[in-house]
């Protein structure tokens, strides 16, 4: 194998690792995944051939690769800011791996850093190890990553930029160092600091997530109690006014004004209808929630259609019920209000030992849904996407299943819950 090939091949391994990172970070773009990967591969070959006498570990090489990573990011999804930030993440991960492995190998074999990647065997080990590390890293982050607030994100991004710059410096100037143990220690220190950074970020983000969940639940509980209180107050007002209304109707009838009495009664009926339940499922809280959502939808011009069954045994505690139904219906009302026709269909059915629920609403345009989840790009902040995350968390905890789809301008969230005693009742048994 020619010497130039051993220079190109590590780049190939690194580029594959970069594609893994960008795929995980940015998600699918307009092209199907295989299309993006094929184009990215072709792009790498063309650019590598164009700069055949590629010189690694130089400022030009780092700039060249940075631009190449940026260009590849346009084959994936995500926002423009995320695309521009992806080379930084790739730089930290790839250069970090390269510097650490190079420094360790150079120290063990007592050779210069620049001479480590000169044999095909070393290049192969390097490529495979880098990709394996990146894959493990991506899997770990997928499990533990959660939204962080803007201050945390700013600090995190600054750290990553500094870390990427430090790795660039190490990569360019470290080649000229003969005293590799120092280089190794610096690289190990850099890697540990990045690992500590991710551990702290995960910790902070899970705390933020928990705090947001609690805040959301408190807010919903408040809304719920306010809605119930409001319903109670209007009921009392109506009862209080009942005799006055009767007097008024009597007055019209005494005068023989049938039309006047009818008009007056129609006015009262409207008032009564606005304050009373529109569904009756034998589950008072669910009735109150669904009625409130119905009126809220009606105010926004959205037609909310119910198809329900007897839900007295619906297997969710009050808090979880509020989390699931309010989040799903609030989202549906918000989306349907912008669509034409503005319509929501809610079904809750008891089928063969489980409850199956479906919230289908019209949307202005189809939302890309991948593997039953909303695209990562729509979840840009700590508050955004939390509602759906909370719903999914409740369903997971309750042993349910769920799926999300969006086609022909219908967004659909379907879930199942194993039938059984409601959680709060079960806990007291």
């Amino acid at each position: 194998m020619s010497e130039q090939w051993t220079i190109h091949l590590p780049c190939a391994g690194e580029f594959i690792a970069v594609l893994q990172i960008e795929n995980a970070m940015l998600g699918r773009g307009r092209l199907p995944r295989w299309g993006s990967l094929t184009l990215a591969g072709a792009f790498w070959i063309v650019t590598q051939v164009l700069w055949w006498d590629y010189q690694p570990y130089s400022v030009q090489a780092i700039a060249f690769n940075g631009l190449r990573f940026l260009a590849a990011s346009f084959l994936f999804g995500g926002t423009l800011v995320q695309k521009f930030f992806s080379p930084v993440i790739c730089g930290v991960a790839i250069l970090g791996c390269e510097n650490l492995m190079g420094a360790v190998a150079a120290t063990i074999w007592h050779i210069r850093f620049v001479d480590v990647w000169t044999t095909p065997g070393n290049v192969l080990i390097y490529g495979v190890t880098t990709n394996l590390v990146v894959w493990l890293f991506v899997q770990l982050l997928k499990r533990s990553a959660a939204p962080v607030d803007s201050h945390q994100r700013l600090a995190a991004n600054t750290f990553l930029c500094v870390s990427a710059a430090m790795n660039c410096v190490l990569s360019i100037y470290g080649q000229q160092l003969d005293y590799t143990p120092v280089m190794m220690l610096v690289c190990i220190g850099m890697t540990l600091s990045v690992a500590a950074y991710f551990a702290l970020l995960t910790l902070f983000s899970s705390q933020t997530l928990q705090a947001n969940r609690i805040q959301d639940q408190i807010k919903m509980e408040q809304e719920r109690s306010e809605a119930l209180m409001e319903s109670y107050r209007s009921q009392r007002r109506l009862t209080h006014d009942f005799s006055n209304h009767m007097d008024a109707v009597n007055f019209y009838l005494d005068r023989g004004d049938i039309e006047g009495a009818k008009t007056y009664l129609a006015g009262i009926s409207q008032k009564v209808a606005a304050g009373t339940a529109v569904v009756n499922t034998n589950h008072p809280l669910l009735d109150a929630l669904l009625s409130r959502e119905y009126h809220k939808a009606a105010q926004k011009g959205v037609m909310l259609q119910f198809d329900l069954c007897d839900l007295r045994q619906f297997p969710l505690s009050d808090t979880d019920l509020v989390t699931v139904m309010c989040n799903l219906l609030d989202n549906a009302v918000e989306a349907a209000a912008k669509a034409d026709p503005p319509r929501i269909d809610l079904r809750l059915k008891h089928l063969e030992g489980e409850y199956v629920g479906s919230v289908r609403n019209r949307v202005a345009r189809d939302v890309p849904v991948e593997r039953g989840a909303l695209p990562a790009s729509t979840k840009t902040g700590p508050g955004h996407g939390m509602g759906m995350a909370n719903v999914c968390a409740v369903l997971d905890r309750s042993g349910g299943e769920y799926t999300i789809s969006c086609k022909d301008r219908w967004f659909c969230f379907t879930f199942t819950l194993p039938a059984g005693a409601p959680a709060e009742q079960a806990a007291t048994v």
Partner: protein, 243 residues
């Protein structure tokens, strides 16, 4: 022109007429001649001849002298496929409606908004079910209603169409599963593997890479598409599943 029989039972004749005035033109616009019979009491409705042929019934819950729920139960006994739509001024009766698997429960107050949507759903439920697979078997055209089909399995160049009885195909024809009309898949059929398509209406559950049909037959599910197939089935149950 297709025909359907509709029963309206309400002790308020004016109200029954309102429903008729909404239903008749709706179905006529869809090319269906609706034969509508109005009754003002449960006894009168019970005495209607060929009651088992009625496909749709709009019933008032609180009829004079009898309950609309009892009438609905009686109609269901005569024809389990009849679609019951309860119309009432009182929401309190709704849970009783669920005991007879009412298709819809609508309030008189909101009839103007809800009836058109309800009629549309009735139409979809009644007339998309009547679609059929038309195939050539031994130079004869055979029409198999979608509802009767449990699964279609390919074996070589032949496709076997199975119904309720396991291992005894309703018909066998030369063709491919990939050539099945797209309309079948929008009517609740799902490809679960290279050689099988199932009617989701007759699926009991999908578990452990197997589809269990309501007639006890088990079919293998493609491992690569298992997650997607389960999601599609879940979504279908959410939209159309009924007790």
């Amino acid at each position: 022109m297709e025909r359907m029989k509709v029963l309206i039972c309400d002790d308020d004749p004016l109200f029954a007429e309102r429903i008729e005035k909404a239903a008749a033109p709706f179905f006529a616009a869809k090319g269906i001649k609706a034969d509508i019979r109005i009754c003002t009491s449960a006894a009168e409705a019970e005495a209607v001849p060929e009651l088992e042929q009625y496909q749709l019934a709009f019933l008032d819950v609180d009829l004079d002298g009898a309950s609309g729920i009892a009438l609905g139960r009686s109609l269901k006994q005569k024809n389990p496929a009849v679609m019951l739509v309860y119309i009432s001024a009182y929401l309190e009766f709704a849970p009783q409606g669920y005991t007879v698997s009412a298709f819809r429960y609508i309030l008189k107050d909101s009839l103007r908004q809800t009836l058109p949507v309800c009629l549309n759903d009735v139409y979809n439920e009644l007339f998309t079910r009547h679609k059929a697979l038309v195939v050539e078997v031994s130079r004869e055209t055979v029409r198999v209603p979608y509802d009767d089909i449990y699964s279609l399995e390919s074996e070589g160049r032949r496709v076997q169409v199975f119904g309720e009885t396991p291992r005894s195909p309703l018909c066998v024809y030369y063709g491919k599963l990939s050539d099945l009309p797209g309309e079948m898949f929008s009517s609740g059929f799902l490809r679960v593997g290279r050689s099988a398509v199932v009617n989701l209406r007759h699926v009991r559950k999908i578990l452990g890479y197997k589809v269990q049909m309501t007639n006890g037959v088990e079919l293998s599910v493609s491992r690569a598409l298992y997650g997607e197939i389960r999601s599609t089935y879940l979504e279908w149950r959410g939209r159309f599943g009924n007790e």
